[in-house]
Symmetry: C2
Subunit: 659 residues, 2 copies
Amino acid sequence: MTAEENATTAVGPNGGRPVVPTRGARRPLGMGEVALTGGFWAKLQATNATATLAHCEEWMERLGWLANFDRVADGTTGPERPGWSFSDSEVYKLIEALAWEYGRSGEHAYDAAVRRLTARVARAQDPDGYLNTAFGHANHPPRYSDLEFGHELYCTGHLLQAAVARLRTWGDDELVAVARRAADHVCATFGPDGLPGICGHPEIEVGLAELGRALGQERYVEQARLFLDRRGHRTLRVPFGIGSGGYFQDDEPIRKAATWRGHAVRQLYLSAAAVDVAVECDDAELLAAVERQWTNAVARRTYLTGGMGSRHQDEGFGEDWELPPDRAYCETCAGVASVMVSWRLYLATGQLRYADLIERTAFNVIATSPRSDGRAFFYANPLHQRAVGEESDDEESDDGEESDDEVSPRAEGGARAAWFDVSCCPTNVARTLATWHTYLATAGERELTLLQYAAGQISAQLGDGRTVEIEVDTAYPHDGLVTVRVLRAPAGPMALRLRVPAWARGAVLDEGGHQHPAAPGLAVVDRQLVAGEEIRLSIPVSPRYTWPDPRIDATRGCVAVERGPLVYCAESLDLPPDTTLEALTVDAATAPVERDGQVLVRAFTTPRPGPGPAWPYGPAPAPHTPDGARTVELPLVPYHQWAERAPSAMRVWLPARHP
Amino acid sequence: MTAEENATTAVGPNGGRPVVPTRGARRPLGMGEVALTGGFWAKLQATNATATLAHCEEWMERLGWLANFDRVADGTTGPERPGWSFSDSEVYKLIEALAWEYGRSGEHAYDAAVRRLTARVARAQDPDGYLNTAFGHANHPPRYSDLEFGHELYCTGHLLQAAVARLRTWGDDELVAVARRAADHVCATFGPDGLPGICGHPEIEVGLAELGRALGQERYVEQARLFLDRRGHRTLRVPFGIGSGGYFQDDEPIRKAATWRGHAVRQLYLSAAAVDVAVECDDAELLAAVERQWTNAVARRTYLTGGMGSRHQDEGFGEDWELPPDRAYCETCAGVASVMVSWRLYLATGQLRYADLIERTAFNVIATSPRSDGRAFFYANPLHQRAVGEESDDEESDDGEESDDEVSPRAEGGARAAWFDVSCCPTNVARTLATWHTYLATAGERELTLLQYAAGQISAQLGDGRTVEIEVDTAYPHDGLVTVRVLRAPAGPMALRLRVPAWARGAVLDEGGHQHPAAPGLAVVDRQLVAGEEIRLSIPVSPRYTWPDPRIDATRGCVAVERGPLVYCAESLDLPPDTTLEALTVDAATAPVERDGQVLVRAFTTPRPGPGPAWPYGPAPAPHTPDGARTVELPLVPYHQWAERAPSAMRVWLPARHP
């Protein structure tokens, strides 16, 4: 088979998509089966392709993270090495994103970029398969001498995920060969008779599991299972300043843990791998454990945006109900990782709650991170920004205006940053956006399920071998009308199933001349489809108030506004000039309205609020409406758009007066 | 003069007390002028003397922090050194506490301990005066090679404070000689013609200023001024993971900063030194800057307890109004340091607001840290503890029961810990408690001002040379009646001034057969006093509700209960067995009451509350009183007593229903 043939078949129905379980309730569609044709996500995908991918490569070249591979290859590693020990992983995530983008678009520039980067990476691989630019060579610490924070296996895991993308969008090549050698090295080194260690940052597990699936190598999956079961026995040393072993999820075996805790990205990558292993090994106990942890963490440790991580300290989950809007961490990468977990759980179980959380997280965390030009990003995604610019972490830009020419530690000043010292988020967004269309629908034995709504085309093979082709026409989430046009109907009845989101009230399914109320769950058309017919799902997306559980102390007395899947927020830019976000109370007796494309709430504001009393605690409760308050109609913006116009103060949860 | 004579005179009216400004609005009393005879603080002082001091020495011996000095002296420093780079400072704070305790009690065991420790410290001093066990010797990094985090000058500052205590309670001795050599070394090394650096952790400044006062060495004060003015020009490198230069207060000169920010203890030690320098150099601009920062931070960055530090991340202040009860850091040392600043500002200005904050912080932060037996401590002092034990930082005691035989990172599981990895708080509490009586009153030209209330005796020399002797009889804060008995009245009129706390309502002054209402501020008796007469200040201390400023988002809709100077809290131990702190709403239409010595609030609870909904955000606001709620009378305990009975969940701010 020539490379061209290989590429063609790999992009077909069995080709590009990040997760292909051997079994499960649903079959994910490949890049050859689904494409976006316009709208919210198509625009993000286009910006990702045309701006973000090159942006990431430029920054990694500029900072020397790419040259680290050259130095290993040339034997010129010195005592000073640019970047953190995990900078290799950014290169791998970029390669992964480029590979998916090649699969999505077929444009050869992305293929060329994969080859260009692969060549540099491959040269740095040691003869025995070890590949890392921070350990194991001249002037480096020895291999695996810092399992807690060295991130060697973490980096390898991302290499394997990149190879999976390449394998499924192009075929077996040098990158796949490098990854195979690296995976073999890991199995030889950490196998049952090898070193008994685990990596401080889970990721190798999910990489091994998927590469094992992609190459049909069960021993890679088995090694992932071994790493999973080794974890939770306190073998990682907990350094000072890091919470407990829970930071690493090494305090308790994953089969026993009640909920998610510790470093959020670590926890979620680990959980994703656990689902993979549970599915491949038919391990119902392990799957049930992840489902239980998902249930508990989503019920009590998750933000309205879907964001996870309540603490800057340890980038971690908090306790149940600990969800401060202002210090919400909600790392972009935790949003990506949450989608990874929920997607795997959905494929395994078919439960729609997982697709609900994916939608929420995608629109309100993942889409929030990149600036509209794709060249700056949020790392953390708080739900309340008090100060504009005063709290920038960047010593070189303390005015809060993150410069597009500077590395930012965390972009905490209410503006996105071009690049970060730890720059995990841009490449994570890039690889996710490049595959986003593969999350839109799944196929079953005799059904096609639409999970996410975007204008696009789907040509899917059902489990029974029949093919169905549809076109989706929608301006979702701006508008809630989804029109499914049947382009090619299989012979005999099949089920076309449309997800009605959990937040939707009053949705209507219009098909075959009938209108049916559609409650949250599935709206199903199960009959002989007719080519050319249109099936319409109409989901009301007028703005609505959303109230928090009273146990979430940090949002007591506040209300949020949502519209469709979008969380909205108030930005200081939209306030009357003589007031501030601190002096704002929503009149929740009046529903939010939409007018001329703007979402508006009625609110009381206090003009020229004073600095406050000398001591902020006193004998009388604050009045619901302060003296001298006036009423304004305050425009809100979708949370994912905040700080797009300029750095701003912002809040999602608004103090509310209600009857 | 013999040592004995020296000791005697040093403990006299001009003797023991931590701060003796050259000028100022008020003169602090020395240990020879004031003594406690019983009650709240006398008990804490006794426990400190009989338990805590030995406890600290035992732990530092056991962990090798004391032996670090021996190793330097013996030339046996190796690559492994017990403790953090700043462990020397704990030894110095213990010596300081012992010196003050000797001054307070005159018991020779404390003098012997000072000598014992001094001998070991002195042996480690280099010939040029440099003294540090983590830098500058075999297997150490070079001197001053890590100004950001090496803490060398910080440690020296604590040595100088210890020497001040020794000088003022015993006299010039080996410890003072060591400190003098160390201070001379600092001046020679970092003087106008020396290294231009500053220490990442302020403390050398306050040490130099006070040693300069105690020895009449203006050049020490001048060196402190030099360090202060060097700060704020971004000369300290900001490492990754630490916020901005604000962490070190190196982002902006202290004369320009609007409020307190960054690491709280660093900020407050720096501010204390700034007041010292401002007073000694008659620098009104500098004094005004600290007053402005105090004003702004107390109004918007301070907890009801007086605690400071809203973030675990960076142990730092938050933004204005960022005061989460659950993640409040409120480090015990920041409470100590806040008292240091306020005391200096009170002495300089005579403004009572500083004494008000000292009272609040002493009762609710400093007194909260030590367990009643003086052998375990809180490091952080949050106002809300959600989980009992589940969140312990200690990998070896994840059940949350901090063992008395283990080092704890932060004692975050709702129980005090015997010792910490960074164990700054126990010795800081110890040195503060040993001097607490010197904060009770100050003398002026013709007046004596009582600032804090405790049973005790005062024999003070007024500025005009006359002496007044009084006895204070009170069960404060349990009871609000303060009886001042005049034991010796000076000839001619004088002013006896009693502070009426800012929180007090309806206080009454009873003197000379008359009763006067006493508003917050000063209740003054200005006349010829008569030996044997009694002057009574009666301050109502019935429990009261306190409400937060509505801009403090984290406590919206909540109320706290205070009684006199004490903040109260609800502990899970006191709940009906079938409910939790999460399911509690105070009926704020009913005032808190005191019955049989217990403070009680009326509250609604939900028996057997469920786990909560699958998604904690929904279309309806939570009812003010949940379905099935029943009414209970809930006992509250003083915050400083929480977790005394057992580890517990706790909250100061209680969700409230009010009309």
